[in-house]
């Protein structure tokens, strides 16, 4: 059992509740334990940094200082929300890179009896922890109900792969991290080139025309790629695409109905947990029926894929056709 410090963030207690519920469910099968840091506060999202620099970073750093006091040995601090993860990672990074900021932030922290030395706490995102520490082999071994045939669009969003202050990602625009994880669950992961495009963040609140257009692009592309649901790692992306899809449809006279769930929810379902125990059904655009249908069909599809049942006749490519490149990683088992 590897243990981690955990920063939930405000969304996990409210609109992103299904993220928290599903995360709690998958910790045991993954062999990780998350210890919430004591009396954590809001990270300020993208709002406080737009208002005032030192207070914004002092607010984030209070969490880092608490984590530094609480950590045992090399325990990293894990965040699941993309914005929280980035704010914590950036505060640690910028306090190290900019001594003047470090001095001011620590002066402020001192007023609350706290202190933080940049570099003390390593901030990591949940997805990266699952991929690098737990590993896909362990994930595959925990799968009891493979999601065979469930066509999903992996939507990573912005703030996990970018700006990547710690240099974790080699590919900032088309990383295949989420694809690989979802494939390990047996899902049929569609090629989704908009996987790290922006959902608009707070634009649904401050400039709806801009925000809704970004949501339209993401949903329309997922649908064009024949995905039946989108899968995300971020509560902001989830609520934008889920709850604002109706307003987006009204604005563009479209009829999209694309559910979006957290990757941890699909992990939970694949690990054999009941969908409603991992928050499936809390979405505004409901994913329950699609998921139930896929789970029902999955065993047969899985047998067919394993070669136990003769697969449906595969049409031969036309002899006159040019040889077409195929996506290697969708054929080969990693």
């Amino acid at each position: 059992m590897s243990s981690y410090l955990y920063y939930p963030g405000c969304s996990m207690e409210g609109s992103g509740r299904s993220y928290r519920e599903s995360l709690e469910g998958i910790c045991e099968p993954l062999g990780i334990s998350l210890e919430e840091i004591g009396d954590w506060n809001c990270c300020g999202a993208t709002e406080y940094v737009s208002l005032s620099t030192t207070p914004a970073y002092a607010m984030i750093a209070r969490n880092l200082a608490i984590a530094a006091g609480q950590k045992k040995a090399d325990e990293p601090l894990v965040a699941a929300c993309s914005a929280c993860y980035l704010n914590l990672a950036k505060a640690d990074h910028y306090m190290g890179a900019q001594p003047a900021l470090n001095t001011r932030v620590n002066d402020a922290l001192g007023a609350g009896g706290l202190h933080y030395d940049p570099g003390t706490v390593r901030v990591r995102h949940l997805l990266e922890v699952i991929l690098n520490d737990v590993g896909l082999d362990k994930v595959r071994a925990a799968v009891k109900k493979p999601l065979t045939g469930l066509k999903v669009a992996p939507y990573l969003g912005c703030m996990v792969p970018r700006p990547d202050v710690d240099g974790t990602y080699t590919n900032h625009e088309q990383p295949n991290d989420l694809d690989r994880l979802l494939r390990a669950l047996g899902a049929d992961v569609v090629d989704y080139p908009l996987k790290t495009e922006c959902c608009g963040g707070h634009m649904t609140q401050v400039a709806p025309k801009v925000g809704l257009e970004l949501i339209r692009r993401l949903v329309a592309e997922a649908e064009r790629r024949e995905a039946v649901m989108m899968v995300t790692v971020c509560p902001m992306c989830q609520i934008n695409i889920d709850a604002y899809q109706g307003e987006m449809n009204a604005m563009f006279h479209t009829k999209h109905k694309m559910p979006i769930v957290f990757f941890t929810q699909l992990m939970g379902v694949a690990f054999g947990l009941e969908p409603n125990k991992v928050g499936v059904g809390r979405e505004y655009t409901n994913a329950s029926k699609i998921l139930a249908k896929a789970l029902k069909a999955a065993p047969e599809l899985a047998l067919a894929a394993a070669g136990a049942v003769p697969a449906a006749h595969k049409p031969r490519p036309d002899k006159r056709a040019l040889p077409m490149p195929r996506m290697a990683d969708s054929e080969v088992e990693e």
């Binding site: 405000c10 999202a45 737009s50 208002l51 950036k90 890179a97 402020a108 703030m159 495009e197």
Partner: protein, 195 residues
């Protein structure tokens, strides 16, 4: 004959002063003075059409010392914080953080083009300071009543849906040691003002 255009010294000085001012306000090391005007930022920006100047043009205006034009521009307010430009910038300029710095200065001098963005940030931060946590329902209700009354009829079923699915609590979550947080933020405000 091609004559190189050289900015008159007073323009160059005003530009250098403004670059230094924004650089000092930026949280990380901005590297703003390294901009080579290649335009990768504007070309990568998903909200560039909504901006009155692309980031590249905004940086050119900064260098030309056009402080007022820059601070009245809507560009920073249309920035999505998606960091596409940041990972593509060949000069490693912290473009997103520069946009935050410009918003901070525009907030201080009240030069923002409209008050929707500043208001949202202000209310969000006000609640986060008071409770130590963000308060989703309080924030959105207040924001829509103030700025988007025509959107309310469409929003009401959504709010009910979220409520029915247990995704919105009525009362804000609060941290235990609000005094400590507020003491830290008071001191941070003083330090920010003293800069």
């Amino acid at each position: 004959m091609v004559v190189a255009q050289v900015s008159p010294p007073e323009v160059a000085d005003a530009g250098a002063r403004f670059l230094a001012e924004v650089g000092a306000k930026t949280a990380g090391v901005s590297r703003l003075e390294m901009c080579i005007q290649c335009g990768s930022c504007g070309g990568s920006c998903p909200s560039a059409d909504a901006m009155d100047h692309t980031p590249r043009r905004l940086f050119a205006l900064m260098r030309a010392g056009e402080r007022d034009k820059v601070l009245r521009s809507n560009t920073p307010w249309m920035c999505l914080s998606c960091y596409h430009c940041v990972v593509r910038c060949p000069q490693d300029i912290l473009i997103t953080d520069v946009m935050y710095a410009l918003k901070v200065i525009a907030e201080e001098e009240h030069t923002y083009p409209n008050n929707v963005g500043p208001d949202f940030a202000g209310v969000f931060v006000g609640q986060a300071k008071r409770f130590g946590r963000s308060w989703e329902i309080g924030l959105t209700a207040r924001h829509y009543l103030r700025h988007f009354i025509p959107r309310l009829p469409g929003m009401t079923p959504m709010a009910f849906g979220l409520f029915r699915h247990g995704r919105i609590g009525i009362l804000p979550h609060q941290i235990k040691d609000k005094k400590q947080l507020q003491a830290i933020l008071r001191r941070a405000d003083e330090l920010e003002r003293a800069r």
